[in-house]
């Protein structure tokens, strides 16, 4: 305790009895002590949790954001025609790690209890699974083809026993036995799709026909209101497709040019990296978005449902070239519900269920005769493409350029926010 007893005349003085003086001095120092220790404790505690709070929230919040789950009370009125996998008793329960708005919730409920956790990009999914080291708690994951070898080499995927999936025979042979997973050792095609754009015609006045037009519009009418897919290959792919470069290029000069352009001439026009601009089309956040065909279709359906005019928005398929991707059902080695997972894959490969799901997500499921089976589904031209169109679709690859693509993507992101 400091007791200042200066007697200089400019300091105000209080004259009180000795007893009172002591009590006053004590009470002042006690209050200061309490207040100070409180402050210090709070500061220390926060300084401590500030940093790890950040990490834990990073790992938890994003992937639970859109987690929805089929109600556990749902009875399994599964309409599986083909006999389901042999083994008898198992809970119809799956923890699935997948993309957003990717399955009809009612269909999932009719099968059983599926809880969904969402990721935005393959890189993110792979990272989280690898980091979990086989204890992420998921039974199934839905990666895009070229990422399957990465997962398999990390020993995360279960080798599929095709005898437990009799409906595998319903899949068109064109979508089986892909280069990244010969003989469907680890995966079964869920559906495939492509990438294009959707724009608000009240803001973007010139028609967008090619990726070059897309870039021009992003730098022009839609500057500051443009979103691109939240994945590195798609961002860079846009540049490659626009410039007639193979988007699986590993050439340094191509990648350098791509970085140069995206960071210095494109980044500042972006509003967001958003893998699902379609679902939120009704919010009116963007004037121009790079979008997967099924998501764009869901967006237009949503606009219709909200009573707005879907003609305000225009969907276009990427040109002169664009992406061909295929997402696949995989069972994780760590899965607790292996039998249930097999049963579900078999269930979804039933043409009837497959079409129900297609109606929801708007992607070609690759079932034999799918186009005829789909009948008069809305915005059919956004699901099924002509042979001439399909010829312009190029599959991606995870190759030596992958790290560089991700690096470019990070730089664009940092630059765009600056």
């Amino acid at each position: 305790m400091k007791r200042r007893s200066r007697s200089s005349s400019d300091v105000p003085r209080i004259l009180i009895s000795q007893q009172a003086a002591q009590r006053l001095a004590e009470s002042i120092s006690r209050r200061r002590f309490l207040a100070m220790s409180g402050g210090v404790a709070a500061t220390a505690a926060l300084a401590a949790c500030g940093s790890d709070e950040k990490k834990s929230s990073a790992t938890t919040s994003a992937d639970t954001t859109a987690a929805t789950s089929g109600s556990s009370t749902a009875e399994s009125t599964a309409a599986t025609t083909a006999s389901t996998a042999a083994s008898g008793n198992f809970d119809k329960k799956i923890n699935m790690f997948t993309w957003a708005e990717y399955d009809d919730p009612d269909l999932l409920k009719s099968w059983g209890d599926i809880s969904l956790t969402i990721f935005n990009s393959n890189e993110e999914a792979v990272q989280k699974l690898v980091q979990g080291g086989g204890s992420s708690g998921f039974d199934m994951v839905v990666p895009t083809g070229p990422y399957i070898p990465q997962l398999a080499s990390a020993d995360l995927l279960l080798e599929l026993d095709k005898t437990k999936i009799p409906n595998f025979a319903n899949l068109d042979a064109a979508y089986a036995n892909q280069t990244w997973d010969p003989n469907n050792k680890y995966s079964v095609c869920k559906n495939w799709g492509t990438t294009g754009w959707i724009y608000d015609t009240t803001i973007v006045k010139t028609e967008i026909k090619t990726w070059s037009d897309f870039i021009a519009a992003a730098q022009g009418d839609a500057s500051g209101q443009t979103s691109v897919l939240d994945t590195a290959p798609n961002l860079c792919g846009m540049y490659f497709w626009a410039n007639g470069i193979d988007w699986t290029t590993e050439k340094k000069e191509d990648l350098d040019a791509c970085e140069e352009f995206l960071v210095n001439e494109f980044a500042q026009h972006l509003s967001a990296f958003d893998s699902y601009p379609g679902i939120n089309l009704t919010q009116g956040n963007y004037a121009l978005s790079m979008v997967w065909n099924g998501d764009a279709r869901q967006g237009l359906l949503g606009v219709e449902a909200a009573g707005d005019d879907p003609d305000q928005y225009k969907w276009g398929l990427g040109a002169p070239q664009t992406e061909l991707w295929m997402d696949n059902w995989c069972i994780l080695k760590e899965a607790k519900n292996v039998d249930a997972s097999y049963d579900f894959i078999n269930f979804i490969l039933d043409p009837k269920n497959s079409i129900t799901d297609l109606n929801f997500h708007g992607y070609n499921t690759g079932i034999k005769g799918v186009e005829e089976l789909a009948g008069d589904v809305e915005f059919k031209d956004m699901i099924f493409f002509t042979e001439a169109q399909v010829a312009t679709f190029k599959p991606g690859a995870v190759n030596s350029a992958q790290d560089r693509l991700v690096d470019i993507y990070s730089k664009v992101k940092a630059k765009a926010g600056g």
Binding site: S5, Q18, E53, A232
Partner: protein, 318 residues
């Protein structure tokens, strides 16, 4: 062992007594601290000197430790994100303080004890809702086709803003959105310490100030505020530190323009699969926070020092 008064003195009972050392009570806290803070942060610091092991998802190559990742943070565009984050945090903290002060003052001095319970309960209610949901609700409020935007366009109250009437509000996916939501999210963290601090300022002292001739403003500035200063400082720290590391708000509302360091770190880890860069950014954030807190503390200390010279009171005993 000393004999206390009133207790029988004599040899202690022969029964063997197991006595844990006093610090035993602190063991859970120490374990928590080591495993959940020291080790993870240590790993982050170690990783920040490595580099990404090419071709693998998220592995760090530590064979050639270097400061390259930090160089990238400083030279690259991440420094912009860092600066923007600090600006957002400081402004957010200041706004929180300005908004909280009247509320806390009202709570501490102008409400009856019964009303106080109600007001405090109302302040607590948002905490019953998930943080994520509270932030998501801003998406609904701020979206260009949301009810606020529609309302502003439909009503013609804002004669000054022709543009506002004709075009939807474009706040979502900008730094403004993040700023607004962040102030909203962290406001209670400021109000509570302020209220506690103000509440502890005894009425007698304020009365005495008035008796001695100080007006309302002088009493507030020269008595109430200095006495509440520790609470204000606690509130500032309580808001500033977690706000600087906020991730959710930027993720949900920020788009690319409203990026925050917390999200940049998450992006590096999960999207870019680059734990080394992510770690370097995280450490840079921690350093920035410490530097800013240090500067603020120094400024505070100087101000107090200067003020103290003019406010010195000598207690003289007779």
């Amino acid at each position: 062992m000393t004999a206390a008064i009133g207790l029988p003195t004599g040899p202690p009972p022969k029964k063997f007594k197991l006595r844990a050392p006093k610090f035993a009570l602190a063991v859970p806290a120490i374990v928590w601290y080591i495993f959940l803070f020291v080790i993870p942060v240590g790993l982050v610091i170690v990783n920040s000197f490595g580099s990404k092991l090419q071709g693998t998802p998220g592995k760090v190559d530590l064979s050639a430790p270097s400061l390259d990742r930090y160089r990238e943070v400083v030279d690259g565009d991440f420094s912009d994100v860092l600066v923007q984050t600090m600006k957002t945090s400081l402004l957010g903290t200041l706004l929180c303080l300005l908004i909280s002060l009247p509320i806390a003052y009202y709570l501490a001095f102008k409400t009856s004890s019964r009303a106080k319970v109600v007001v405090l309960a109302l302040l607590m209610v948002p905490f019953f809702t998930n943080y994520l949901l509270r932030t998501l609700s801003w998406q609904i409020v701020l979206q260009p086709k949301g009810f606020v935007s529609n309302f502003l366009q439909d009503t013609h109250w804002f004669t000054f803003g022709q543009a506002l009437r004709d075009t939807p509000i474009k706040i979502l996916k900008t730094r403004t959105a993040v700023q607004i939501a962040i102030v909203y999210n962290y406001l209670p963290l400021m109000i509570f310490p302020l209220w506690v601090a103000l509440d502890r300022v005894e009425l007698h002292l304020r009365e005495a100030s008035k008796d001695l001739g100080a007006g309302r403003v002088a009493t507030f500035v020269r008595v109430t505020l200095p006495l509440a200063m520790p609470g204000i400082v606690a509130g500032l720290v309580l808001v500033f530190v977690p706000l600087s590391g906020d991730y959710v708000t930027a993720e949900l509302l920020g788009g690319v323009k409203g990026n925050m360091v917390g999200r940049a770190v998450a992006d590096q880890y999960f999207r870019s699969q680059d734990a080394a860069s992510g770690s370097a950014i995280a450490v840079s954030l921690i350093i920035s926070i410490l530097v800013i807190l240090g500067v603020l503390a120094a400024v505070f200390w100087c101000v107090r020092r200067i003020l103290a010279v003019n406010r010195r009171v000598t207690v003289v005993s007779i």
